[in-house]
Symmetry: C2
């Protein structure tokens, strides 16, 4: 066929198919042809017309999926009438996290770290950049400034908590553990964070429990 009236629909179709395949089969395990085969009738030429490389498709697919999640977290930074400590607790409260989890469900990666290694690497990198530097550290520093948080090593605490939250509490790259173990992890992280001056709040337990329920229902 010739040109389409609404090319952005084509782009959306490509990204949808790509996201699903990359999650299920990993980056290297997914070929451009695999993606093309899901776009009934379309060919590789169409894909390479809209994207210049496989890598660009990968990044675009996950950027699109992550955008609402990141935006939601950032939105908490601007609020005026909260102390840093309050914002910190809220970052890990069910009301903030759970609605986003449903979005994650769309892109559940294969529970095999090697297969999902590229995604794991992105999460790892993101734990330093986006999570720690992006919104966690600013919140902590705000708390230090307004006196609501006493933390001697804000940067390090932010990095450690981000890493554990992203790669340990969210079991994206490993099989889902029994609920009580996930709760034990949450409890453990809370204690460890408290030791460096970060009170994540008791709601972390409820958050974890609700995440577990969602994922368990989704058949993880």
């Amino acid at each position: 066929m010739g040109r389409n009236k609404y090319p952005e629909e084509t782009v959306a179709k490509i990204l949808d198919a790509a996201l699903e395949l990359f999650c299920a089969q990993g980056y290297e395990g997914t070929s451009i042809q695999d993606i093309v085969d899901r776009l009934d009738g379309m060919t590789k030429g169409a894909v390479y017309h809209h994207f210049k490389s496989k890598e660009e498709i990968f990044n675009a697919a996950f950027d699109r999926a992550m955008t609402p999640i990141v935006e939601h977290r950032r939105s908490m930074l601007g609020v005026g009438n909260m102390t840093g400590a309050q914002k910190l607790k809220r970052l890990y409260a069910p009301e903030s996290v759970v609605p986003q989890i449903e979005l994650w469900a769309r892109m559940r990666p294969a529970a095999d770290p090697v297969k999902s290694s590229r995604l794991l690497a992105m999460q790892y990198q993101g734990s330093f950049n986006e999570s720690a530097d992006g919104y966690l550290l600013p919140v902590i520093e705000e708390g230090i400034a307004d006196g609501s948080i006493a933390c001697e090593c804000p940067r390090e605490a932010a990095e450690a908590v981000s890493l554990l939250a992203n790669l340990w509490l969210l079991p994206l790259f490993r099989p889902l553990e029994p609920k009580e173990r996930m709760l034990a992890r949450a409890q453990c992280l809370t204690q460890m964070a408290a030791a460096v001056g970060l009170d994540l709040g008791n709601e972390v337990l409820q958050t974890t429990a609700q995440i577990w329920d969602v994922w368990d229902r989704a058949g993880w």
Copy 2:
């Protein structure tokens, strides 16, 4: 040429070349031909005679490089006249860690998580299996049994400490941070571990400092 009298030398050459290339260029960035080109005169047929796939080469190369490190850690488990708490401290003491660091220097991965994603995934997986289940958890449980450690969540504490030690204190997949930041990380981890009943000992700071010196001298 025909067959070699000492094929194990050929295998060793292959694994040496493979290790270096996989570290420098990552798994996907290294082709079998790249490896073959470093084995002067040898051809792909030789490689595929000794190994049945690229993946097997990768695993064999890193298994071989990791073996002395893992063995060294395991050797601490059998000692009789030490409490669990003493063994735990010793696991992270300079005398235990630093000699092994030189071995790591041989396989310094590219400081880009995505390029090194497969190795990162292995370290991630290893943090749960080998590190936590393998020697850390047994030591903690020994300490609980002999009364030298009071830890309510041994499994979770072991996992968290392993993850942070392997992916945060050992900056294998990210650029080397300034020394004071690495020391701050060590201090932070020590405090966090203490909060869940694990006394890693003050020597962790010295260990970190010495690791930093070694890597800095190596031009990381």
